[in-house]
């Protein structure tokens, strides 16, 4: 690093920095830090607190991966990205993974050459309106002014929804979520549309949250998940199975409270044993230590705990599990078995 700074600062040609393309795992381990792309700030999902420490639901995935790979959940370099810059940052190797409420779509996967390793939040695009408007359905929004955040799939969904229902609207594209909220609460637009989770998260901060309602229509599927570059499958596996470990842990009842006890010796449940590395060699197959999943889970708890602590019903954001409950509870969160 010292040399990097020195030569980088001295000479434009001094390109001595470590490569990022070859094997991401080696790079991350050599660097001792995980470069993780996040948002510039979405309450509950990724935002730095007053001390500059990143917090949130997406951020927790970064921390879990850092814990799995490096054994230290704080060994993450968070790289804030906007809707525009996130993909190039990942493609150019500036970040090792992107955990930034990014929708898994065909073209992003195939055309932009990214690998979505799973879904950590099933979302959908919703609409929020002031109660005073007396609107009960998005189909009554003919002629309305709609605030959207640019650079997302939202604006495409919006165009499709209004076109297929043959109603007109006036889009007001806004660069950041906070400015969109500002315009919406000032009445510069009738409707604010974005992912339903973000709607709930931002409504919690309004001066009078009760004056606004979220309409029942969910106009799109927005499976949000972490992603990595195409072409480094080993690294993709690591991120994928770290996420799966968090999910499986919840399913199997492994929590941050009992994990030390469960990991100390092989227990009665063989899948728990395999997950925590007391049985089998799953960690070794990934090129990590046997207790990678234990580290990942210890970082911020299992999937359910992360959800509850960052965006769950007890927090300001107050999201219900809904689709994001475990499959055993009627939700969609489902991890392939650790075997």
């Amino acid at each position: 690093m010292k040399k990097t700074v020195l030569f980088g600062a001295l000479t434009v040609a001094g390109l001595a920095a470590a490569g990022a393309q070859a094997a991401t795992l080696d790079d991350v381990q050599a660097r001792g830090k995980l470069n993780c792309g996040v948002t510039t700030g979405v309450p509950g999902f990724g935002e730095p607190d007053a001390n500059g420490v990143w917090q949130g639901f997406d951020v927790a995935v970064c921390r879990a991966v850092a814990a799995a790979v490096l054994g230290d959940p704080m060994a993450v370099e968070f790289v804030p990205t906007t809707g525009k810059t996130r993909f190039t940052a990942l493609a150019a190797g500036e970040i090792d993974m992107l955990a930034r409420n990014t929708t898994w779509t065909f073209s992003r996967d195939v055309d932009l050459k990214f690998e979505f390793v799973g879904v950590n939040y099933y979302d959908g695009q919703g609409f929020m309106v002031p109660k005073a408007l007396g609107v009960n359905s998005a189909k009554e929004l003919d002629g309305a002014t709609v605030c959207i955040q640019t650079g997302t799939t939202t604006e495409l969904n919006l165009a499709d929804f209004f076109r297929s229902n043959n109603i007109s609207y006036e889009p007001v594209p806004i660069e950041t979520g906070s400015e969109a909220v500002q315009l919406f609460t000032a009445g510069s637009c009738d409707v604010y549309t974005t992912d339903a989770s973000a709607l709930a998260a931002q409504r919690a901060n309004f001066a009078n949250p009760g004056d606004y309602v979220v309409l029942p229509e969910i106009v799109s599927k927005e499976p949000l998940g972490p992603l990595v570059r195409h072409g480094d499958n080993e690294w993709g596996d690591i991120v994928r199975w770290t996420l799966n470990a968090l999910i499986t842990a919840e399913e199997l009842g492994v929590t941050s409270d009992n994990i030390d006890e469960l990991a100390s010796a092989p227990g009665s449940n063989p899948e728990v044993n395999r997950l925590l590395g007391t049985e089998g060699t799953l960690g070794e197959m990934l090129g990590l230590s046997a207790d990678f999943a234990k580290n990942a889970i210890s970082a911020g708890g299992n999937y359910g705990e992360i959800f509850a602590n960052n965006i769950g019903e007890s927090t300001n954001i107050g999201l219900a599990r809904g689709l994001n409950a475990q499959w055993t509870e009627g939700g969609l969160i489902y991890s392939p078995p650790f075997r």
Partner: protein
Amino acid sequence: MSTTTDPDTRPDGFRLGMLINDTRYRSYTFQFIALVLLILGLGYLISNLLDNLARAGLNISWAFLGEPAGYDINQRPIEYTSQSTHARASMVGAINTLIVAFLACISATVIGVVAGVLRLSNNWIVSKLMSVYVEAFRNVPVLIWILIIFLAMSNALPQPRTFRGDDATSSMLFDAIAVTNRGVYIPSFVNGAGSLIFWIVVIASIVGVFWYRKYAKKVLYATGRMLPTFLPSLGILIVPGLLAYFILGRPVTLEYPELSGFNFKGGIHLRLSLIALWFALAIYTGAFIAENVRAGIQAVSKGQTEAAGALGLRPGRIMNLVILPQALRVIIPPLISQYLNITKNSSLAIAVGYMDITGTLGGITLNQTGRAIEAILLLMLFYLVVSLSISAIMNVYNNRMKLQER
């Protein structure tokens, strides 16, 4: 003559060292080295680019321009739907850029000239106020001004719904203009039968006014007789138009904006993003132009003012007839670069969601297609063409305005 040793006369006189040491050849050597280095450098960069693209499995392709854009644009000066192509969306953005740049250039010039003249006014409070304006706007980044003005307008102006009902707290100006925090709605013209003739008459009368003023000036210079200008101009401007309007049976009507549903409908909608950007650019650049104007006026020697005063001209006339025409020669070159700055700063539209070309081609299109290199290349090309055209046009004008020295 025969004893001179001019190396050129000797066929074997050329030595390799002369490439460095002989001033006649040295410039060729340097240029050759520079060219080789440039080609090597560019080649290196391009080979890196190709290499990187190949590694990432990407390629350079312009096909995305022909694909449907899929997103809507609120301000559409030309026909556009979400099914139009990305190329069409870029074109809409380009026109929007030119619209806001044009509006801002004109208003910035007006603001700048007024502020620059007022800053030199004898009126203490006015000149101080103008200094405060100029310094406040010149010394704070334009991005901050754009954001502040945008947020201020969206918060301070009334919502459309406050115009509704019997207990409306806001009302339209003259029942024709609605100022809301979604923008300003103004009446638009609806052209009926015979409207073409009406517009021709209107344009002709505007031309007529100019022609009459030119004629009056000619008479003044030739005979010293001062023809009245104000009333005849007004007459030429209004009378034919009014006559045509009634003879043709009111071919042009105004469509007033009306509150219906969520928003005002009808008329022309100047969106908040356009107004905020326009206003911010105009008032920011106006501060710079004010400084140029002040410098230009101060560059005119004080003797000119005194001479004009001695001839008995009023202060207003002195400014209009003597000082400003001379100051203009000093003002115009920096004015050109301010116009260029406005055009380039209009790319900050992205901060307020105005759909200029940076918002469409460099924003949503880039995002949705992921074609970063192609989109940014086109974007730069657009701005380059616009900038070079503006400076070319203004240079022609500048040359015509130049003092004819004989």
